[in-house]
């Protein structure tokens, strides 16, 4: 039955789109953790700030302007956060970091409310992405395809940078053993800083990309935080492979769970997470062996 096949294609695309969005968020978080051993619970809030900054810029110069401004603005915020807060918290235990960034969630949540109010904002999709495209026998929104393509492009780009370039080799060395990397003459501190800012920029990008799909609300950061954490814990902290695997697992379990067993859908993903933690406490693809 074609309609049956179409249904599966549609859900698979939906799952893929959710996965790509989560990938954009989790890759920044996971590499920051892997490299700096820093737990940034406020990563979701950066995503929300990205959505707001994107919406503000899009209101002036259209969607593409927003798409450009959001990552830059959030990276700028990353610079502030890094020099003001994170640099000093680097040597603290995970608990202090969790708490400081938990406090940061509160602060950023209320700051977005103060600047942009409580009412949801929206971003208009650009004209040629607002329609639907016929694909594999179904009609699928063009914008969602754009999200999938963007996610895949970023994944490919990061895989190339991390796997093939010198900077990538330095980052992998830092994740593996930062003291040894520093001994080899790598400026680990500057590397941390760069990676942190890139991670922030990707969170901002995810925010503005998600904005036309979901509405922009102050608590969108809190809502995305838990799925992102699940992704990186399932995938294993610190690795690109883990982030993409975790995102795909989450996206497909969540989407197909919601369609096939709505009662169990959300419990399913947590049960999966618990199972992963019991069987492989370090996740599926940890950066360190």
């Amino acid at each position: 039955m074609t309609s049956d096949l179409g249904f599966w294609t549609l859900q698979a695309l939906n799952a893929l789109q959710l996965s790509m969005l989560l990938f954009l968020l989790s890759i920044g978080l996971t590499v920051i953790f892997g490299l700096m051993h820093f737990v940034n619970l406020a990563h979701g809030s950066l995503y929300a700030v990205g959505a707001y900054a994107g919406a503000a810029a899009a209101a002036v110069g259209g969607f593409w302007m927003g798409l450009f401004v959001a990552p830059v603005a959030v990276a700028g915020m990353g610079v502030l956060l890094y020099s003001g807060l994170i640099k000093r918290m680097r040597r603290s235990g995970p608990m202090a970091q969790v708490l400081v960034t938990f406090g940061l969630i509160f602060v950023l949540l209320d700051l977005t409310r103060i600047f942009w109010g409580d009412l949801p904002l929206a971003i208009e999709k650009p004209g040629f992405l607002s329609g639907r495209v016929a694909l594999l026998g179904i009609e699928y929104p063009a914008y969602r395809l754009f999200v999938i393509a963007l996610g895949l492009a970023i994944f490919t780009g990061l895989a190339w940078v991390l796997g093939q370039t010198q900077v990538g080799a330095m980052i992998r060395a830092g994740v593996d053993n930062d003291a040894m990397a520093a001994c080899l003459g790598i400026n680990v501190e500057r590397l941390f800083f760069t990676v942190f800012c890139v991670g922030c920029a990707l969170a901002g990008l995810a925010g503005v990309v998600a904005a036309p799909l979901l509405s922009v609300t102050p608590d969108m950061g809190l809502q995305i935080l838990i799925p992102t954490l699940i992704v990186i814990v399932i995938g294993g902290l610190g690795s690109l492979k883990g982030a993409i695997a975790g995102s795909l697992i989450y996206g497909f379990v969540q989407t197909f769970g919601a369609v096939l067993a709505p009662q169990l859908a959300s419990v399913l993903i947590y049960a999966l997470l618990a199972a992963v933690l019991v069987i492989r406490p370090m996740g599926l693809f940890p950066a360190k062996g």
Binding site: V107, I226, P262, A271
Partner: protein
């Protein structure tokens, strides 16, 4: 191990006196706030027991409290048991749940432990949220309070209920201290300092962690049942992870591993929340900045700071035969 210092006795006496005074004199609104503080204090005692003395930073204690509340409401409202039986059942069920979570998570450490407990908490939240049997997102209403008319106490009255909660909190505090002073509590602190050493001494590490986590869960379940009795209505929001986060914030603001500190933190947070939300809708901003400030100052919360400032001096004067009293409480998990 937990030790009472003179400063802690003084703080406890002040807290008790303040609560009694409030219970005796406050009007309806003041009593509601007092009850809220007392129930939160129970929850943070439970959390401090595992986090401050066992290094198990749990992000599922809010959910455990919710499990207690839902168990109480289900036993009473759907199975038709008396409130007393429901209360005992709720405590037992929450304790058992916590024991299982503790046993499963015992192998994880640091951020993985936090994530694992978060996962279990969210699992409970989603399950309750999506199950029509528990009322889904509508929650459950019509919950009865304990019937103590045989003792001449009418708990439907706010003042009696506040005093009742205060009494329960006192018992919970004594129980927590007793657990921490027992062999189990000492083993737990040993495990926090070095699992390897305790294992070499022949201890089954995961059992110690699971047992204390279960006991802590019983307290959380009790707090949940009381909160269900207090509001007489429950909703899945009780189990959300932000409740657990808030409990952790209270423990840190007050002073991790001091038992007294978290109770002070509970007072501070609830009062701050009510005072600030009267002035500004953005009270989260203030609490967030406060939290960042406290953690970055590297003091062990409000009470830990006071202890560091005057505690040492006071102790020296009061017990003259003295062993010097450094702040031996572990600060970081």
């Amino acid at each position: 191990m937990f030790r009472h210092t003179p400063l802690r006795y003084i703080a406890l006496a002040l807290l008790a006196a303040g609560a009694l005074f409030q219970a005796a004199t406050a009007g309806y609104f003041g009593l509601e706030i007092l009850i809220e503080i007392l129930i939160l204090a129970m929850l943070v005692l439970a959390l401090d027991m595992v986090a401050g003395f066992g290094g198990m930073v749990s992000l599922c204690h809010g959910a455990l409290m919710g499990v207690g509340a839902y168990a109480f409401a289900t036993f009473g409202g759907i199975l038709g048991l008396t409130p007393l039986v429901s209360l005992v059942g709720a405590i037992a069920l929450t304790g058992a749940t916590a024991w299982v979570i503790g046993a499963v998570c015992a192998r994880s450490h640091g951020i993985y432990f936090i994530m694992a407990t978060l996962a279990f908490g969210q699992m409970a939240y989603s399950y309750v949220f999506q199950t029509p049997f528990f009322g889904g997102d509508d929650g459950m209403g019509g919950i009865e309070r304990l019937d103590l008319t045989a003792l001449g106490i009418d708990l439907t009255d706010s003042r009696s209920f506040a005093l009742f909660c205060l009494g329960v909190l006192g018992l919970v505090y004594l129980a927590t201290v007793a657990v921490l002073r027992s062999g189990l509590g000492r083993s737990l602190t040993g495990v926090m300092h070095s699992e390897q050493r305790m294992r070499a001494l022949g201890l089954t590490v995961w059992r110690v962690k699971a047992d204390v986590f279960g006991l802590s869960g019983m307290i959380a379940g009790l707090a949940g049942a009381l909160s269900a009795m207090h509001i007489m209505y429950i909703s899945p929001g009780l189990l959300d992870w932000t409740v657990s986060g808030e409990a952790l914030v209270v423990v840190i603001l007050g002073g991790l591993g001091t038992l007294v500190g978290p109770m002070i933190g509970a007072v501070a947070l609830v009062v701050l929340k009510h005072e600030l939300s009267a002035i500004t809708p953005y009270w989260h901003l203030v609490v967030g900045l406060l939290l960042i400030g406290v953690v970055m100052s590297r003091a062990n919360g409000i009470f830990g700071w006071i202890e560091a400032q005057i505690g040492a001096r006071l102790d020296k004067r009061l017990n003259d035969i003295t062993r010097p009293q450094p702040t031996e409480e572990p600060r970081d998990a």
